[in-house]
């Protein structure tokens, strides 16, 4: 064995030990991160299932001490708010993404739009709440479902833009060219070829986005405000699952704490359902 090979052999052992040490640390980090996930999910599962029944989904909240309270109105409220957000966020987001991917990919304007979208994505949600409070709640002199929907819509827009743009980019240019070569108009190419090709991915993105805003609480504190009664009026305050969970969680009553867990179970079922489905859909369906 040469001198160098000798050296090499001698030093190999400590190197190997360091190697295993570092690999073990990496494995432990991964396990460490999974502990809270399992803790959260099991606690919600165990504590939530106790109070989650049909009544819980159909009834109004009850005062402390009265049995049979539920979060029916909050569930409906969340659906109303999320629908409003979708109504606002999806068209704006998808159209913007189309502009970025199909009309002008490079240049000052599209880079600005992307930068703005990323900035919107990073704005603290409570700040969005302040903004919507100023432009809608103050002039209307009332908290409202509309304000809550707009706040969530603003948060949805950048998620839809970035996700959809990514999906549209995955559509191969050869398809666009084939369609153009057939003499299709550009809008036709987009609507009939590009969008249908990317549609699964786009829907996935949108579902993930909706799942994310459905769980938002902070902006709703300043906009939708919450409501303990049935209401679907757009100009009135409206309940929402996350708001109701928050109210109950910080209350001093055990009974309400149980309700908060049940509400969380409900919320997480909605959120996880949307995101698991969405993620599985993209996993299995990468564009060729």
């Amino acid at each position: 064995m040469s001198e160098i090979q000798n050296q090499y052999a001698k030093r190999y052992k400590p190197r190997k030990i360091i190697n295993y040490l570092m690999l073990t640390i990496m494995l432990l980090s991964t396990l460490l991160a999974l502990i809270p996930l399992f803790s959260i999910l099991t606690h919600i599962g165990i504590s939530g299932i106790k109070a989650l029944d049909l009544q819980f989904i159909t009834n109004l909240p009850a005062p402390v001490g009265e049995p049979g309270g539920g979060m029916g109105n909050a569930l409906v409220g969340t659906l109303v708010l999320v629908s409003l957000a979708a109504l606002m966020g999806i068209p704006v987001g998808v159209l913007t993404a189309i502009y970025l991917s199909e009309y002008q990919q490079t240049g000052l304007f599209p880079s600005t739009v992307r930068f703005v979208a990323d900035s919107l994505l990073g704005i603290p949600s409570i700040v969005v709440g302040i903004f919507v409070y100023l432009i809608i709640v103050l002039p209307m002199k009332s908290f409202s479902a509309l304000a809550g929907g707009v706040a969530l819509g603003i948060m949805l827009i950048p998620i839809v833009i970035r996700g959809t743009e990514g999906m549209l980019k995955m559509v191969p240019d050869s398809l666009r060219e084939a369609a153009l070569a057939l003499g299709m108009r550009k809008w036709r190419v987009i609507v009939s070829i590009v969008l249908p090709t990317a549609i699964k991915g786009i829907i996935t993105t949108i579902m993930l986005g909706i799942a994310r805003v459905a769980g938002e609480t902070a902006p709703l504190l300043l906009t939708a405000f919450g409501n303990h009664f049935w209401s679907t009026k757009l100009d009135q305050p409206i309940g929402a699952l996350p708001l109701q969970i928050f109210t109950y969680a910080i209350s001093p009553f055990d009974e309400w704490h149980n309700q908060a867990w049940a509400g969380s179970l409900l919320l997480i079922l909605v959120v996880l359902f949307l995101s698991i489905i969405a993620r599985l859909a993209t996993r299995g369906n990468k564009l060729n």
């Binding site: 159209l95 502009y99 199909e102």
Partner: protein, 326 residues
């Protein structure tokens, strides 16, 4: 030319619809352009509104707003020092803990775990990001905080209580718990970006190091981390931005007390939390304006952080498109 019959059948009807199509093309493009412009205007409007409505407080308190600790709605005196302190310290705790863990996870998932394991585990880590923050708060109050009090604060307090950083009663609720919960919440963010960046390191780099006889860790240390570090830094800044703006989970576990204490065990407050707690009760103009200024500060900091993060992440990634992509 082709025979006339076919032309009539196939081409003429098209030509008719074609005449209507010309404006449609323009309308569609205009529509998408308007949406894009609208997005820019939206951000502009948000910035404008925040500056406008906080002007009262900015004028009245000036720079003192950031340093002063006095937050007294009755006297009309507002200084956000304690909130700013709480926000920064809790986010720093989060970053200090989340960074090594996240990079460790990212390396494990990309470099070590076999694909059948890394896909589901990566998915689970991503799930952490899907949990609404109010649920983190709820779990924090009833599960995490009691655990921290019992198994972290008590033993550390018993041993190191004489160090100011660990002094005071083990309340559970407070700066440490808030920072730890934030760490859990931003792990998926930093992990996701680090993973993308690490997997974009060219195979040639890895193989080069391996061919020299490097161990796996050495490959990571010499071939991967140097390549990925600015992207990972971008991910860390992004996580920091997220931690700074987080509201619900923090307000539920930090104790909501606007004090500056040396001890990590002491209760504190945060910028987002004070907005959430007091905004709808702020009756007079100056109070509201001061809260909006807190929001403005929060916005500006996260805005800058996002810009920085983009810069670092982009400096790693990809060249321009090109070629006739057939």
């Amino acid at each position: 030319m082709l025979d006339k019959d076919i032309k009539k059948k196939a081409i003429n009807p098209k030509d008719k619809s074609n005449a209507q199509n010309i404006p449609l093309d323009k309308i569609f493009k205009a529509l998408t352009f308007t949406a894009s412009l609208g997005v820019i205007l939206l951000l502009g409007f948000i910035i404008f509104k925040l500056f406008m409505e906080s002007a009262l407080s900015v004028e009245k308190f000036g720079f003192k707003f950031i340093t002063s600790m006095e937050w007294d709605p009755v006297k009309g005196e507002f200084g956000a020092g304690a909130y700013i302190f709480g926000t920064i310290v809790s986010s720093l705790i989060a970053i200090l803990i989340a960074t090594p863990v996240s990079v460790g996870i990212a390396l494990y998932l990309t470099e070590i775990a076999p694909p059948w394991l890394s896909t589901p585990v990566g998915f689970l880590v991503e799930l952490l990001a899907a949990i609404p923050s109010v649920i983190y708060g709820l779990w924090g109050i009833f599960v995490f905080v009691p655990f921290i009090r019992q198994y972290i604060q008590k033993p550390i307090g018993d041993l190191f209580g004489w160090i100011p950083l660990f002094s005071g009663p083990p309340l559970g609720i407070g700066m440490l718990s808030a920072g730890l919960i934030l760490a859990i919440m931003i792990i998926p963010i930093i992990t996701a970006i680090s993973r993308d960046i690490i997997s974009s390191v060219p195979t040639l780099q890895r193989e080069g190091a391996m061919a020299l006889g490097a161990t796996r860790w050495e490959v990571i240390k010499y071939a991967i981390l140097p390549f990925a570090k600015s992207g990972i830094l971008g991910g860390i800044i992004l996580g920091m931005g997220r931690a700074l703006g987080e509201t619900m989970a923090v307000t539920m576990v930090i104790g909501n007390r606007p004090e500056i204490k040396a001890s990590l065990f002491a209760p504190a407050h945060s910028m987002a939390a004070v907005i959430a707690n007091e905004f709808t009760e702020a009756t007079d103009d100056i109070y509201l304006s001061a809260l909006i200024e807190v929001g403005l500060l929060l916005f500006l900091v996260t805005f800058i952080m996002n810009g920085l993060a983009r810069f670092f992440i982009w400096s790693v990634a990809r060249g321009p498109k090109g070629g006739i992509r057939q």
